[in-house]
Symmetry: C2
Subunit: 332 residues, 2 copies
């Protein structure tokens, strides 16, 4: 196994120690509660809390800081955080003016955030839930556990984080967060599988000329295994899937996010983004903002995920607002 | 071959088109001259120009913009730019107050920048050369082509870029650039090889339990092939090699940069950084700044490179100065 790790059981802890060591001005790791907090707690603002399986970094840990999240509870690799962690994260940042839980639509994550909220209700602590389910590879009906939460999570965290940072009330933060979640869609392509440290081997095998369409995160396989294609053709597939479901207004301003899955080099992501941007314009859309890089990953998996957000109302202004986290930083 | 590319011959062009599409406010790709320029040219400042083989992104193309480089001439994958490109890049940004060429110590790069300078001399255009050779895996003597330029290049570009941006004269920019180059050292470890697109297969083979110590970039093999070790042991090897050569003052403030080689996930880089930071402190050094991520890469190679810079004089203030490029952005 080719990884920079110590004992596979300690990989999440060792990662969080390293993250704090590199960014002591941004984050603080509370090892006892296993939560990651802002180095400088915010005062009297709506608290934003997220969490999920580790191995998807920078999601969510890389988005703690000014203008985004207040606390994150990271689970084990590809495993949801437990209710105790969620409660600890929430209580650590509750400033008494409202709490928002940003929850990706995975069974374990929804269940554990729900249980944490039930337990906290005994202490009269109420958190609002914003559910993210942007993965168009899964039908949006009752035939499954429903659409998974993928790249839109980053956009919800950034835009709602900016609303909270400027002092919006909890109703406003929840409203813009849900609006972003409703207007974003994602479709992903995987070129390889990945190797969870405690498993020690790849989750599944793929031939050198194959790619998986409609994968999720956490090493889950795709909807269709097809022959690998040129970047232009892949861009077309990603965009067709996303736009057919999003159905943006003609001429709409959009934010296009292209996330690598961890093992794809930046140069390839930009090759693919160039093809996406040209096709967005050809479709009569205006990609006024972009975000290209490793944002929602699955360890060292090679692949990419396209998220398109139709920018409505204040979304663009809130996107542009200052942010200072490990993974996103501008304006400060 | 698992890559997001179109025709392998077009991969550098397609990358640069995508980079401009994603960051039109930062860079402009001049396809005819094959150079990457700032979207908004700077006025009356010393011009900083760099270039090298492609496949190492974000080096150098990701560092064009306010506070860093003015122009970059990217060669083919793992191949130095040609003199014509270097001349075009230089002439495009020459504001008449001095030009600095930041050159990594590779035979082709040194030769082609030298030829470009000889040709420009006929037009009375003079560029100062700052040579970067920070790779301690190669002896610093005449037994070889000399030490390769690796991670220190990023630090030279950022710090000299800040000096140029605030209006320093060319002598001052060259002086601080050479000072940074002199006080930084790098040592790298590779876990896998990589696959150049036009070659279509890995450059060399490695067993699953092996790692290469003392590799360079461009897929060159390492000095020693040894069994893979825990992250703590790898951190110790990297740091021992770097510090034995750098010999910083006791208690010195240092900048520690840990660059992934392209295919290593961020979470592993932070695991390794945590081990590096603890050992830096144990060695009596003060890592006041860090930079962790994919900065100098070799396509999708898995591995990491540690660069340590002893921060002297104005280096820290210039490091902290605002920068707005694709790959580094803060303060604006």
């Amino acid at each position: 196994m080719k990884k920079f790790i110590n004992d596979p059981k300690d990989v999440v802890t060792d990662y969080l120690i390293g993250l704090e060591a590199a960014h002591p001005d941004v984050v603080r790791f509370d090892a006892e509660s296993r939560v990651l907090l802002r180095a400088r707690p915010a005062f009297r603002k709506v608290a934003l809390v997220a969490g999920g399986g580790s191995g998807c970094e920078p999601l969510h840990t890389g988005f703690v800081g000014h203008g985004m999240l207040d606390a994150v509870c990271p689970g084990a690799i590809f495993t949801s955080p437990v209710p105790r962690q969620i409660i600890a994260a929430t209580e650590a940042v509750d400033a008494g003016v409202g709490i928002v839980h940003i929850v990706k639509n995975f069974t374990g994550e929804v269940m554990n955030f729900g249980m944490a909220q039930e337990i906290m209700a005994f202490e009269d602590i109420t958190a609002e839930t914003v559910l993210v389910k942007d993965d168009v590879s899964v039908p949006d009906d009752d035939s499954s556990a429903g659409r998974r939460g993928l790249g839109a999570t980053v956009l919800v965290e950034k835009i709602a984080g900016a609303a909270a940072e400027r002092g919006d009330a909890v109703e406003g933060v929840v409203s813009i967060a849900r609006h972003v979640a409703a207007r974003a869609r994602t479709f992903s392509v995987g070129l390889t599988s990945c190797t969870p440290p405690e498993r020690g081997q790849e989750i599944y095998a793929m031939a050198d000329d194959e790619m998986d369409l409609g994968i999720g995160i956490s090493g889950s396989p795709g909807r269709d295994r097809v022959p690998i294609a040129p970047a232009g053709d892949i861009a077309e597939i990603l965009l067709d899937e996303v736009l057919a479901d999003l159905r943006p207004d003609s001429g709409a301003r959009v934010l296009a996010m292209l996330s690598g899955l961890g093992g794809t080099p930046e140069s390839e992501l930009y090759v693919l983004y160039g093809e996406v941007a040209a096709r967005l314009r050809a479709a009569g859309l205006d990609p006024v903002r972009s975000l290209v890089g490793n944002l929602v990953t699955s360890l060292e998996q090679q692949g990419a995920a396209l998220t398109v957000l139709e920018l409505e109302g204040e979304m663009l202004a809130l996107w542009d607002a200052p942010v200072h986290t490990q993974a996103l930083r501008w304006g400060m």
